[in-house]
């Protein structure tokens, strides 16, 4: 049997096939209704985060107002469903996300024109301001946008199509999965088109892009519209999933901030980074929030640490290790990684004990001063748990620092070896 060599084409088939397989099989593996809910959320959040990264990672445009396009996409879907349902038209639910996408693209035309007049930091501030403008506008017109109560829909409206009514979550999940796969493929394809590549060029060096004949504002504006389209699709799916649209929530800057945070955590320099980000987003908001009241604090800390030590996100960490593995040098780090993991666990144990005790004393002091932590009972009113936790945290921090430095050194040496081999190979 011939040895299996990984070529670019084979790699691509594997990746896309893998994605399709995971999307299809996931609900069969994770069968609980909670899991199904989470998978559905992941599905459309992948579309949203990828659309966000089209701006940030591909185009270097940091937006604080992406929720405008997802939110208005959701609004369009809700309004369209209401209209179709009210008039008894035979417009299928399956096409409603496209309505959302159209809305997102439409809104991106004027708003994008204004936003892309500037680049960099100014663009970020403009996006924030426009986001605020739209939310304020929507809240001012409750007749149009539903007000506090929001606008609800019934996603099973109309007649079932081949027995599919989209009532059961599993049916909606597969609709989301199809859109997720198609949109991911389309956005990936975009990166391989002239506009997509020029967007990268404009990100890298807008001046040079001008001097090869491209109007950088148009490149950014057109890409902004494309991103708005996919954002609208994602937002429409989100609203269909929850069957309600609330303007103050769907368009809020908190939402925009969340898209930013998790896309960045996933990784902006690789195409698949936002996919990881979307998964992390659902896991955090659904699972982590149940686990601890301090989840937002942990999230904030992880975000800050990520920026300082791994600005390329989880994706870049993965790819660094993949490259090291390809060079055959990953094996030597196993011991160091193990030690680092242990040190981190110790640090986490100590630090989170402190955090949990603080949160308990501030928020649930009425229930007594005992905090249940990792199977132990810590009496937060006494000094001992505080000192113990602080000691553990400090020990962990010291260990992380030491192991981290050794790891960095070893990594640097391995990188040098790789480079030397490349040079030799290049000269041979």
């Amino acid at each position: 049997m011939r040895a299996f060599t990984m070529t670019a084409t084979r790699g691509r088939w594997l990746a896309w096939g893998g994605l399709a397989a995971v999307l299809v099989a996931a609900p069969l593996v994770f069968r609980s209704s909670l899991a199904l809910n989470m998978l559905s959320q992941m599905g459309y959040l992948i579309i949203i985060c990828l659309s966000y990264n089209l701006l940030l990672g591909q185009g270097g445009m940091l937006s604080f107002g992406h929720a405008v396009y997802t939110g208005l996409g959701g609004y369009a879907a809700v309004a369209a469903i209401g209209y179709v349902d009210g008039h008894g038209l035979a417009f299928p639910l399956a096409l409603m996300p496209l309505v959302g996408g159209a809305m997102g693209a439409l809104i991106a035309v004027p708003l994008g024109y204004v936003s892309t007049k500037k680049a960099g930091t100014t663009f970020a501030m403009i996006s924030l301001g426009i986001g605020e403008l739209v939310v304020a506008f929507a809240i001012m017109l409750p007749d149009l946008f539903g007000g506090d109560g929001g606008m609800s829909i019934n996603r099973t409206y109309g007649k079932p199509f081949w027995g599919i009514s989209f009532g059961p979550q599993i049916e909606l999940y597969y609709l989301i999965a199809v859109y997720c796969f198609v949109c991911t493929a389309l956005m990936y394809a975009f990166t391989a088109t002239p506009l997509g590549r020029m967007l990268n060029a404009v990100r890298d060096n807008p001046e040079r892009a001008q001097f090869v004949g491209y109007d950088t504002q148009l490149v950014r504006w057109y890409s902004f519209i494309v991103a708005g389209f996919f954002a609208g699709i994602g937002g429409a799916l989100a609203t269909i999933n929850f069957e309600i649209f609330n303007a103050a929530d769907a368009l809020s800057s908190m939402r925009s901030g969340a898209y930013l945070l998790f896309t960045f955590l996933g990784g902006v320099t690789f195409f698949f980074g936002p996919i990881i980000g979307a998964v992390l987003m659902v896991l955090s908001t659904v699972l982590l929030s149940e686990l601890t009241a301090a989840w937002l604090l942990y999230l904030g800390l992880v975000f800050v640490l990520m920026i300082m030590y791994a600005p390329g996100g989880v994706a870049s960490l993965v790819m660094m290790n993949v490259q090291m593995a390809r060079a055959g040098k990953l094996g030597r780090f196993v011991g160091l990684y193990g030690a680092l993991l242990l040190a981190c666990a110790v640090l986490l144990a100590g630090a989170s004990a402190l955090i949990e005790m603080v949160y308990h004393m501030q928020l649930s002091a009425a229930t007594g001063s005992e905090v249940k932590y990792l199977g132990m009972r810590l009496d937060a009113a006494t000094g001992a748990p505080w000192l113990g936790a602080a000691a553990v945290a400090l020990a962990g921090a010291w260990a992380v620092h030491r192991v981290g430095r050794r790891l960095a050194h070893a990594w640097g040496r391995a990188q040098e070896e790789i480079e030397a081999e490349l040079q030799r190979g290049g000269q041979a």
Binding site: A192, T193, P194, V212
Partner: protein, 256 residues
């Protein structure tokens, strides 16, 4: 015959400081002009004014008879003028091939389309490969531009500049920072790739100037004080007084 590039009483002031004080120049198609002058004379500013990086305070710049002063850089580029930069201006995170491909895209009429794959644009890819070979970077095709050596990046810069097929090329100190051997090779490269085009280059190395140029324009204090053949420039008293008066320059020029 219309001039390829013409400057008419071009002036540029920054606040109250006059940098360019009425520059006049008329370059015929196919001429190779070296722009020389003391440091601070305004050579780079002239280039910035011509290429649209700066707008003139007054005066005109004409490209093949059309006024281009005050226009945006991309408009000027589309009209057939391309430039390189003194400080390397490439797309650092794209590969060498992608850099060249981006430089070719507009000239091949593909504009802002997202409905075609880059891999399917055979004309673009062929031209990019051709350029890759011309600048001698074929073995670095897929290397990220930021990882090239300095000389390789300068070569890429030249490649990007000529990629779009512009007929008027401006090179701002193309050999800056290079060793003697690198410079010699680079001059040969420039000569080849700008065959038949109008070339303006800012240079400090007199050997390069006298070897490459048909005509020399001398810029002093924001004015073009002389524009003539190398021999005439050498003999020009004003130029000698302002710039070429040192024996070092004599020796450099004499060696070529």
């Amino acid at each position: 015959m219309t001039c390829a590039l013409e400057l008419r009483n071009l002036c540029k002031s920054f606040g109250r400081t006059e940098i360019i004080r009425g520059a006049n120049l008329a370059v015929q198609p196919g001429e190779r002009v070296a722009v020389i002058g003391p440091n601070g004379a305004g050579k780079s500013t002239l280039f910035n004014l011509i290429s649209g990086r700066l707008a003139p305070t007054s005066g005109e710049v004409l490209l093949n008879g059309t006024r281009i002063d005050g226009r945006k850089p991309f408009e000027i580029n589309r009209l057939g003028l391309s430039r390189s930069f003194q400080i390397t201006n490439i797309f650092p995170r794209l590969s060498v091939f992608e850099n060249l491909r981006c430089a070719v895209l507009w000239s091949m009429g593909h504009r802002y389309t997202f409905l075609r794959f880059l891999s399917g644009l055979h004309d673009v890819n062929a031209r990019a490969d051709e350029l890759l070979a011309q600048v001698g970077l074929s073995n670095k095709r897929d290397v990220q531009a930021v990882n090239l050596t300095y000389a390789e990046q300068r070569a890429l810069e030249i490649g990007i500049t000529i990629a779009g097929g512009a007929q008027v090329i401006l090179l701002d100190e193309p050999t800056a920072g290079m060793s003697t051997t690198e410079t010699a090779r680079f001059i040969e490269l420039i000569r080849q790739v700008t065959e038949g085009k109008t070339l303006l280059t800012v240079e400090h190395d007199m050997g390069v100037v006298f070897g490459l140029a048909d005509k020399i324009a001398v810029v002093v204090y924001g004015e073009v004080i002389a524009f003539d053949t190398p021999e005439a420039i050498r003999a020009n008293a004003r130029v000698q007084e302002a710039y070429l008066g040192s024996s070092v320059a004599e020796a450099q020029g004499g060696a070529h």
